[in-house]
Symmetry: C2
Subunit: 491 residues, 2 copies
């Protein structure tokens, strides 16, 4: 050792080499340590400037002044160009893609018009345009209550803050047309003072409260899903009051909610062909997501649908809410090391497998509805039909729960397969009953399903007067809606 001391004394450059080596190594270790610390800091990071935004400000551009990156990314929800199908941002007509749905929803608004969802930017436009909201020429006209606005606009919490929810829901949809003009935006999820996540809609708070849970105690990570769960859930309108309720009192699985609806004897409508008391599933995204592996591993909606972005050294949350497959590098690949192509193939494979089961279930249900119609015509009694109608109700509820959501076959592929397989089993069981009932009433052949190979043919089969519906809608859009917009602009 002494010899090294001597060496350094004799040749000072050896000391320098030792010194600089140490410096370099320590510098690199410092980089690693900094990277670890930085990630912890990122997790705590929330930017909360003082703002002059009012409590229920529905105009997102006013929020955007303080949060230009978030706002600019939010504006991109205009772009729905996912896969070639969305070219031109035109809504995809789901009924044209799968005309069986027209038969399944016979007697209900969805048989008229049902499109794949577009970005939040289109929320108000699309609910005005859909045939499901009809053509109310006066504020007092139906067919829909104001409850249909609930998830479409930050004008809704603004209105509720003065009207109260009950009066809001009890209004007609057309009555609030001039008031609801801003598409889903900042105020729907954020507190303008602290910019914290905020639940703006009563239905979610009430559903938690009925279960004895205080949503105010949710963690930040839970809130990154719960603000979405204000709307992306299964819900129903209470009869008479049209009050919006989440049917979660027995739990949030498809079986739990079915039990809940059965216990209330609730149905959304009576099927035009089979006369079954039907349930329409909305989009139970949060409920299905909760049963999948990504939720089980602690992820929130925002982790994949609103990934972190970097711009000029600043990290922010993208508000261009969209399919994570649109930007695999900032979503899936944060955890998964596979190539974009491989990861997308994995997702599509899950969707394809469940799609096959879905079609089995739909085909069986279409046949069941027509067979039930034939059974009524052949003189079947209410007593004979009761078990059949229950099977049809449950089968279609399960099918709909599995397919009505956004991305369910990715969120919880096996749960969706399980649900769909019970739909197949129950629809087929209904057909077995119906075959026996029909034979008892003198009809023992296969039921002929009319030609429903296109949306138009299927709508004709169930007796819809589509030219009339379109004409009325056109008149409504050309005369009523401009008045709404003018009234809103004058405020």
């Amino acid at each position: 050792m002494n010899s090294i001391t001597k060496l350094v004394e004799e040749k000072p450059w050896v000391g320098w080499v030792l010194f600089f080596t140490t410096m370099i190594v320590v510098f690199v270790l410092g980089l690693f340590a900094a990277s670890i610390v930085e990630r912890r800091t990122e997790a705590l990071y929330t930017y909360r400037p003082a703002t002059d935004i009012s409590e229920w400000e529905p105009d997102s551009s006013k929020w955007g002044k303080y949060f230009p990156r978030e706002y600019e990314s939010y504006l991109k929800t205009k772009d729905m160009n996912f896969r070639s199908k969305y070219a031109g941002n035109v809504p995809i007509d789901s009924l044209a893609e799968d005309p069986r749905l027209v038969v399944l929803w016979a007697g209900y608004g969805f048989a008229r018009d049902y499109s794949a969802p577009r970005g939040h930017h289109y929320a108000v436009t699309d609910v005005r345009n859909t045939l499901r909201t009809g053509a109310p020429m006066t504020p007092a006209e139906g067919p829909q209550p104001a409850t249909c606005w609930t998830c479409k606009s930050p004008d809704v919490p603004r209105l509720m803050s003065t009207m109260g929810p009950a009066k809001f829901y009890a209004s007609k949809w057309a009555a609030l047309g001039p008031e609801v003009t801003h598409a889903i935006g900042c105020a729907d999820c954020h507190d303008p003072k602290t910019m914290s996540l905020r639940i703006s809609r009563p239905a979610l708070i009430e559903a938690f409260s009925r279960k004895g849970k205080d949503i105010g105690k949710a963690t930040h990570q839970e809130m990154r899903s719960l603000v979405c769960a204000q709307c992306h859930v299964e819900y129903y309108f209470q009869p008479q009051t049209s009050y919006l309720v989440f049917p979660w009192d027995s739990g949030t699985t498809v079986d739990d909610i079915e039990r809940y609806y059965d216990s209330l004897n609730f149905s959304d409508w009576t099927h035009a062909l089979s006369k079954a008391p039907m349930l329409k599933a909305q989009h139970p995204d949060w409920e299905v997501f909760a049963l999948g592996i990504h939720a089980q591993r602690g992820l929130s909606c925002a982790d994949c649908h609103m990934p972190y972005q970097s711009e000029g050294g600043v990290k922010y949350t993208s508000h261009h809410i969209q399919s994570p497959l649109k930007d695999v590098s900032t979503t899936c690949q944060v955890c998964h090391r596979e190539s974009k192509e491989e990861l997308m193939r994995n997702v599509f494979e899950r969707q394809d497998k469940n799609f096959a089961i879905r079609i089995e279930a739909e085909d069986a249900l279409v046949k069941a509805h027509f067979a039930a119609k034939k059974a009524w015509e052949s003189g079947a009694s209410n007593d004979e039909m009761a078990p059949v109608l229950k099977l049809i109700r449950h089968a279609q509820w399960r099918l709909d729960f599995a397919i009505a959501g956004h991305g369910s076959s990715f969120h919880a592929p096996l749960e969706v397969a399980r649900i769909l397989s019970t739909a197949v089993a129950k629809a087929q069981e209904a057909r077995i009953h119906l075959t026996r009932i029909l034979a008892a009433h003198g009809f023992n052949s296969e039921i002929e399903v009319p030609d429903i190979s296109t949306k138009e043919k299927a709508q004709q089969v169930i007796g819809l007067d589509m030219p009339k519906l379109h004409e009325d809608k056109k008149k409504f859009l050309e005369t009523v809606v401009p008045k709404w917009d003018a009234e809103a602009a004058s405020r």
Copy 2:
């Protein structure tokens, strides 16, 4: 800078501090580098000593002298104590657990006796003990051909090397009893000279060759699955010759293999109740595994079922082939950072969901078989029954393919769900046809399924004389088997 040189000159201990800091840091970096290099070395590592083991040595203890760690771990396949069910290493009676299976296999050996598999150690014992191999009192007696030995013992490649496969398969099972006495062991998968993985069974080589593929060109990682695929696959015995064939010529999915069997008009047996021409799926483990995410990510069977172990600084492959859930820390947790409990819960959840669909399919099939029996009794014609029998054949084939394997609901959960849901759909479709046929022949009520709530009741329902079968087996085990063992010992 000069001041530091001076400082070192004046106070030599400062130089020493710099020196030792550098040493420590470089040492730690060295450890990291070594760990990286070691992992690369491990991947290449194969230990190949010179041995005096003969080409088809069936006695694994002779191999064990050179590979004590592998051999000792192999001996542990005796231990099947997985979950509480396996307490005492007693085989689990699957028919007692689910008596529906007795009805589904009516007319076939599996209705007599079907147990959950035990470790490789029990291969010869269990095939001697099962009622499916009957009680042949002479070498020429049936019911089974020698093909039933194919996967049970390293004596098989030894015998095939002298007899040739065709003559082996054409022998009676009892004729080769004295020759096949060693349980599955080293020679089944290893070359005694190089210790490389080796395919010892012709069926796999032939299946590859018919597809124009040379199995000799498989990579080492592929071989770590292919040696298992010699046995853990779907197979059938060719009629007349009993030649063992893998039905992969159209592909290896359940649909591909169904098409293959249909094109040959092949059936394993005619169902005792429905008279349907049935297919019995064996254990298509490799085929199902290939469709799951772990295979898609490049894993082999051995990665999880034969994990690496460390002992006294030596790394070796565990030959205690078992469920990876028995040792989560060396299997799942090599890649997954979740707790053992969490990972096991994930697996069980997948199994539970598919189990629910399985029971739907089984219940529907049981009813279909009894309804078909009733239809024949009511005077249904072959023409009327033909589409029904085809539906039953396909439904049960799919059910069986999904449930006959080991761990399929883990290996490819969604594929299994998809398969099971088609089984539900087809079984129910058969029942719809049958309802119509029965009505046409004057019977229009629900079919009563007899009491099959226990294995014993179900076996009585399908007309099995179990006391006789057990008595014959006992006699066979007490008189014939000891002679086989004596003859083997005298060699």
